[in-house]
Symmetry: C2
Subunit: 294 residues, 2 copies
């Protein structure tokens, strides 16, 4: 659907430009479009390929590999779109698991409600990853090529614990710590588990882009991903969604036998704070950026 939207915008733009210069023959001249779908090589490209529309107006290709490195030849791409992926870190900062470090993330699964040193370790890894991402895309994009990025974000200076996702992570952390105190899991297992994603503010992302120097910033703003939601959040449904998306990460680390226990406890904790969640769920926590290759 996203590709369809991008394609229609490009075709409309192309027609409006051509119709001004040579109004009679723009239909014949529509350029060909080639779309590259990228994801890690563990992605299910087979399902992607068999799901592509039969009547698509573009040539399709799948590209396996990490977007933190090079994927395409130099100066071969005109438009990049990345959707809800860039907040994933390429790896966890090592100091999170170092007991001697002030960034040791004891008793938590994320930097939410953590000391500044933990937040800083996440932020450094994110900045490093983004630098690699921007350098790779800068090589691949043609001059003036555009890049539209959508990812998780947060208003500048707002603690992550004050937005619903942060409340979720804090509730998972405390559910796991409760389970550790009751001997269901080991406390060390909680200390050694950390979620590898980071939400940047527009100001922070703008700083990274400017330091990199290859792109001009056309747009950099926060949007509200839940603007379509009417009425209060249904907590059990929310937990079902969270479990669908994240159970794999938790069960690989803690074992599948404790998943019902974990998500059951999580539901109760979130129900207890559902008013707080509802009062913050219209925060603008989606970062929308449009960059142009210099």
């Amino acid at each position: 659907m996203t590709i369809q939207t991008i394609l229609e915008a490009m075709q409309r733009k192309y027609k409006s430009q051509i119709s001004q210069s040579c109004p009679h023959d723009y239909d014949d001249q529509m350029p060909e479009f080639q779309v590259f779908f990228n994801d890690l090589e563990s992605n299910d490209f087979n399902t992607l390929f068999t799901s592509l529309p039969q009547d698509r107006q573009y040539l399709a290709a799948g590209v396996p590999g990490s977007f933190h490195g090079r994927l395409f030849p130099e100066s071969s791409i005109h438009f990049v779109h990345t959707s809800f992926s860039l907040h994933w870190l390429s790896k966890l900062p090592e100091e999170l698991q170092n007991k001697a470090s002030p960034a040791w993330n004891k008793g938590r699964i994320h930097y939410t409600s953590a000391p500044n040193e933990v937040i800083e370790a996440y932020a450094c890894q994110f900045a490093e990853d983004m630098e690699r991402f921007l350098n790779a895309r800068a090589k691949e994009l043609v001059p003036q090529g555009m890049m539209v990025m959508i990812m998780t974000g947060i208003p500048k200076g707002m603690p992550y614990s004050q937005i619903p996702t942060g409340m979720l992570y804090d509730s998972i952390s405390s559910s796991l710590m409760d389970m550790a105190k009751e001997g269901i899991i080991e406390e060390g297992e909680v200390d050694s588990f950390n979620l590898a994603f980071y939400a940047a503010s527009p100001e922070e992302m703008a700083g990274i882009v400017e330091k990199n120097g290859c792109f001009g910033i056309e747009r950099m703003e926060l949007t509200n991903p839940a603007a379509w939601m009417k009425g209060p959040v249904d907590i059990p449904t929310l937990v079902t969604h969270v479990r669908a998306a994240m159970e794999g990460m938790f069960s690989r680390h803690f074992g599948s036998q404790v998943m019902d226990e974990l998500f059951g406890r999580l539901t109760h904790k979130l129900l207890d704070i559902s008013d707080l969640i509802n009062s913050t769920c219209q925060e603008k926590v989606q970062l929308f950026a449009v960059l142009k290759r210099k």
Copy 2:
């Protein structure tokens, strides 16, 4: 392995050309290579992607779709290699199943040992498919772009029944007809089953390429795909290979419950003619063609 061979040849050629013109800096200037792997969308691209060498010297992409149509943007490809695929027809000629047609292929599974009308129907479909293939690749290749094609072939004028693959098809046909006579399968099922591939002679392929007009012929010759074989063919091993490659096509049509029966009978029939098979198994039945975009 094929990509590695092609890449090394290109790198060697590039270095030898650059070293003549500016001998001191060719190492920095090696161009980037992007390799597109194409197959039908039902292919298992996931396994392909996870099997690619980690230290590959090229950017990789998978392209789902039929090579009888367009796969790549205009004038975007420098080199095409197609290996053991072009002999597959895009579809079976309809007249093979028309009882009123002289091309009705009664009691056979292929054009081996069939009347001229059947052979002609296969040849027409092959020529039509090749025309579409050549037109699509002609659009996609840059001027002077090269195409190396390897596929099944046959010496001009030689009946297909005189080469080992033809003997195999004749033996499968007669095994199936025996089974029909004994009531294990229906005779109509044999009549309605036809293998969708065709082997062209170099002269026939050259005629198709010349009629198309977009490519010059650099090489067009038959090679012997079994040149590495020492000693006589081991028939049970041969049947195991054939079964591994082709059982799916037969079991979808005749039912999996008769496959042991079919391949058991086939083994006996081939053992009876193993001297004949051995006397012909060094025939040149692989077509090797190198074309250059005009």
